[in-house]
Symmetry: C2
Subunit: 239 residues, 2 copies
């Protein structure tokens, strides 16, 4: 076991995700001093949870590969997907405030995460200004993202919601070197619906509608965007 853990130990300085992840913007020298921060990688199989709401909070997790969703749940069992996370994005920030996680993080595709013990991150951030700054930026950006999701949930119509969702996904995939036009959805219609405040049937109908209108072609999980301009128009003003 000790050997296995040692094998899993990773170095931010040589990680292919360093341009997307927590150490973004650090110099190579600064990066090396960060290597001690990440404790170990952890594999998560599709359907498994990284943590649940209520679990004690100890570490943040940086997604190395795979696809995750976060979700909050009401007393009576309804739930709301609050985000989909891909490589380089940070999971678990919600746990800092209360000392326990406030949502579930579930793998919707086999993946791997880097565990960053929070106590150590805090300590390193005090000694190391660029890390502190970057960590604060990451948290702040999460708040900005949440606000734009609120805008989407509170003021957009179904068509606008799905268009905005697809464009956001497309951009994030493009930032990771994948095609912005051609991609495979990692989530079900029901998960997309939960995130957007719609029912799965509505999501399905919208995909069909967008296809009929020539904005994209879709077959189950595969999507090819064929008219980005019009899709952008649908997401935005649409007066």
């Amino acid at each position: 076991m000790a050997i296995a853990l040692a094998d899993l130990k990773v170095a931010c300085s040589t990680c292919s995700l360093r341009e997307l992840c927590l150490p973004v913007g650090l110099t190579p020298k600064q990066l090396e001093s960060l290597d001690e921060l990440v404790y170990a990688r952890r594999r998560i199989a599709e359907g498994e949870s990284l943590f649940h709401a209520g679990d004690p909070f100890r570490a943040l997790y940086a997604v190395r590969s795979g696809f995750f969703k976060t979700r909050v749940t009401t007393a009576d069992g309804r739930d709301q997907v609050t985000g989909f996370l891909m490589a380089g994005e940070l999971l678990g920030i919600d746990g800092i405030g209360a000392g326990q996680h406030g949502c579930d993080a579930v793998a919707i595709e086999d993946g791997e995460v880097c565990a960053i013990p929070y106590a150590k991150l805090e300590e390193t951030a005090r000694r190391f200004e660029p890390l502190q700054q970057h960590f604060h930026r990451v948290m702040s950006r999460e708040i900005v993202r949440d606000h734009s999701v609120m805008l989407l949930l509170g003021s957009m119509r179904a068509e606008e919601k799905l268009a905005a969702f697809l464009l956001n996904l497309s951009q994030r995939l493009a930032a990771r070197g994948y095609s912005a036009r051609d991609f495979v959805l990692r989530m079900t219609r029901a998960e997309i619906g939960s995130f957007l405040g719609l029912k799965l049937e509505t999501v399905s109908r919208l995909f069909t509608q967008f296809q009929k209108e020539g904005l994209l072609s879709v077959n189950r999980r595969s999507v090819r965007i064929t008219n980005v301009e019009e899709l952008t128009r649908r997401a935005g003003l649409h007066c």
Copy 2:
């Protein structure tokens, strides 16, 4: 002007809000070392903005008195209220990530804020672990709050939304020493509606309905909750 500013300088160590605000949980001695952090108070009249989306980010603002709303806006003019803030709560965190504010902060009642220059906060947080911890907790809690608003916007029915909103307001007022049962709404029906993803007419009708059902009595902005238990039931399960 120099004199006016000097007059406005405040000390966290003697502030009546220290149990609610950024320095919560610090010892009196620790508090004193925080006094240098807050630069000055600033008065904001009803209707005025503390900052707008796009403004360069320099400082966070702690609400001392009054009532604020934050809002994000789409290209085509629709907007979404993302929060209502009262004494002790922190405004402007959204600006850290991009170096410019991501939303508007508008006073919906005359009020006063303490400006906390962000560069100074960052620097103090590095030297001063309890402040760092507390600041991280505040940001994390904002994320948790946003997630619960997403749950509300995405999965609740109109009745549940308004009940949850009123109970939340009631609890936050109670935490500040005001009555939990009897309070005055600082915001219009339209602002409540924008926050909850409803139209103002729907909000108005729900108030009338709740009153008919004996959950509360309402007259314009004054609300008296007469049946907290039932209101809680409406906000939650309601199977």
